[in-house]
């Protein structure tokens, strides 16, 4: 049993931590979420089969992050939220600058767009895996992803002109 758990940890620890990191934008909190997720997996190991494991882990991670973000939002001062509007990377984009700007822009997307971009475009999961994780149909994943990408492009265009 412990061997199976260890295999799942080896296979998915980076993906779980990474998703939590992008969603929360806080490495310390992301570590806590990753640990909570794998503790849950350890207790529910009999109920999670090999095929479902990745989608199950991603779903649990995402839900834990969204809970934390909701709690965070309820305690965030309104003036802070207004001040957090991003100035954009400017016209002459360096690759790294664009990456940093994108991370912030993804963080400002609404759900499920944010998770879609992270799971598909950043983590490169298949459309089917993303659909399973977010409990959406394949068509919904494609439509929502299209909208999310458009929002990112439009924002980038707005700030770079």
């Amino acid at each position: 049993m412990s061997l199976r758990f260890r295999r799942l940890v080896n296979a998915y620890e980076d993906q779980v931590f990474s998703l939590a990191c992008y969603l929360l934008r806080d490495r310390s909190e992301a570590q806590d979420v990753a640990q909570e997720t794998f503790v849950k997996l350890w207790h529910r190991l009999d109920d999670v089969n090999k095929k479902q494991a990745r989608a199950w882990l991603m779903k649990v991670t995402r839900n834990a992050c969204l809970d934390r973000l909701r709690q965070r939002r309820s305690t965030t001062d309104v003036t802070e939220t207004i001040a957090a509007v991003d100035p954009g990377p400017g016209q002459n984009l360096h690759h790294q600058q664009l990456g940093e700007w994108l991370q912030r822009a993804i963080g400002n997307l609404k759900e499920p767009y944010r998770s879609l971009v992270l799971l598909r475009d950043v983590q490169q999961n298949s459309y089917q895996d993303v659909a399973n994780t977010l409990e959406l149909s394949l068509d919904q994943v494609k439509v929502y992803l299209y909208r999310a990408r458009r929002v990112l492009r439009e924002r980038l265009q707005e700030v770079s002109t």
Binding site: D14, S18, C21, Q35, H43, L45, R150, R153
Partner: protein, 165 residues
């Protein structure tokens, strides 16, 4: 076609271009259009930049400290056994059997059988003793011949009764 729907169509074409789902002919058409339209060209470049940057963000590796903590979970978190359905079903079945056993009279033990035999033997000897005593008393009261006639009369009555039925 309105500006909005034209823009939507262009964005959809760019999306399919990035996904690799645009046919070579359609991709060629889009490229030709982009050569004539700087706005379209800029949109395609923007989309490529974003897509590449998203891919380059990639997966962030878990820190060593977290990896160590995750591997320690089996030893630090005892798994609750939980009542899985086979265990629960077995427990329920055992309970039913126990109730059934308690409700069914238990077969007598060897000691009980032996005691019952002793009691029966005692009762039989008692009956035999009092049976003989009663016969003696009757003989004394009414005489042996009458006793015999009385017993024979009863026998005949019983025999007639059984023949008629």
């Amino acid at each position: 076609m309105t500006d909005k729907s034209k823009r939507e169509q262009t964005q959809a074409a760019i999306d399919r271009l990035l996904d690799g789902s645009l046919s070579p002919d359609q991709a060629e058409t889009l490229r030709n259009q982009a050569e004539q339209d700087t706005h379209l060209a800029k949109s395609i470049i923007n989309a490529y930049q974003i897509q590449n940057s998203l891919e380059n963000l990639g997966i962030q590796p878990a820190p060593a400290d977290l990896k160590r903590r995750l591997r320690g979970i089996p030893s630090s978190h005892r798994r609750s056994p939980g009542l899985a359905w086979p265990v629960a079903a077995t427990a329920a079945l055992s309970l039913v059997i126990a109730v059934a056993v308690l409700r069914t009279p238990a077969p007598p033990s060897a000691d009980e059988i032996s005691q019952a035999r002793d009691e029966l033997a005692l009762a039989m000897s008692y009956l035999r003793h009092y049976g003989v005593q009663t016969q003696n008393e009757l003989q004394q009261e009414i005489g042996g011949t009458l006793t015999h006639a009385l017993i024979e009369g009863i026998r005949e009555g019983v025999s007639k009764d059984s023949n008629s039925t």
